[in-house]
Amino acid sequence: MDMLRYIFSILLFFVFSFQLMAQKTDEKKKDGWEITGIKIGMDVGRFSNFLFKPEQTSYAGSLDVGFNNKYFIIAEAGYSEINLDRDNYNYISDGTFYKIGLDYNMLKKYPTDFLGAGFRFAYSTLEHSANNIRFESEHWGSYYTEKESETNQTMWLEASFGLKGEIFKNVYFGWSAIIKVRFYGGTDDKFQPYDIPGFGKAANSISIGANYFIYYQIPFNRK
């Protein structure tokens, strides 16, 4: 299943890349550093949780400031809540994540679109607990217990490659493939988090995924 995801992500990347390449625009060369756009984004990929992962509710947003439509300072933040109700336990978790980084646009001719790479430094903190943990034994009978709340902090680095295209005036759709490498926290031999907000499955130290964002560009300094 993982392999299918990667193949699909690569295909999706090429589909959108060709869309951008096909556009014709004219850009005048700019001198010096100029803020060319401020975008506010919302991670729309997370809304799939309502359908396919109902135990998880998560939101994420981003702010990016572009300079000459070539360099972008990116800040992202998000929230995730999990309430996993299983037959033999109930797992509860809530946490936040923050990311900061840079994107570099490799497109030279296009004044607003983006095709490029970036990196992020990310930090996440979560609190999780469990209750109604049921044990059943042939000899010992049934027993209920609970796991007290614990805090878990995680830091990781991300490298991304993706694109953003203007689908309506000032409205962009963006997609990026991301590889995340965890270098601090996120693991616990006794109480491993089910999911690290912004990172994904805590059992993996390297996570590969994709983001889908809708952006609104504040009409500022736009030519």
Binding site: L4, L12, G45, F52, Y91, F135, G141, K190, A210
Partner: protein
């Protein structure tokens, strides 16, 4: 417009792929203690001690008869001490095991299990000695104790 429809279609397909998962527990969840009984006392051997051996815990509602010298026991997940009683004919011995428990979240699919770390053991007179081969009980490794009569 076609472009937007294409995006929506591809997104929906992607969401389905990204969110499919198997909810079955495919891991080992039993945490067991392997007990090995070695009868060196000729009186016990001649009396057929092993053949009529039964084991139970006072907290159980039943007892188990083992016809072999090797068997698996389950420590109490509710207390830090488990008492096992070994009976055979007129002999009755008690082994009291003291341990620490850890509640471990194995996985989303399998839930929680209890791991044990043996601290100490006390036993009564017919038992000659008791040797711990492995004092840690997890889903990956069984505990192992040899009981000499």
């Amino acid at each position: 417009m076609k472009f937007i429809f294409r995006i929506v279609g591809i997104l929906l397909f992607a969401f389905m792929i990204f969110n499919c998962s198997d909810n079955r527990c495919n891991e080992e969840v039993d945490v067991l203690l392997k007990a090995e009984i070695i009868v060196n006392d000729p009186i016990l051997t001649n009396a057929g001690f092993l053949e009529t051996l039964s084991i139970y815990s006072p907290a159980w509602t039943d007892s188990v008869h083992y016809s072999s010298a090797n068997f698996m026991l389950e420590l109490s997940p509710f207390a830090d001490t488990t008492v096992f009683v070994f009976t055979s004919q007129a002999w009755k011995d008690t082994v009291k095991i003291f341990y620490e428990r850890d509640l471990v979240y194995l996985s989303q699919e399998c839930g929680f299990v209890t791991y044990y770390k043996i601290d100490s053991t006390r036993y009564t007179s017919t038992i000659d000695s008791l040797v711990w081969v492995n004092k840690k009980l997890t889903t990956l490794t069984d505990g192992h104790v040899k009981i000499y009569f």
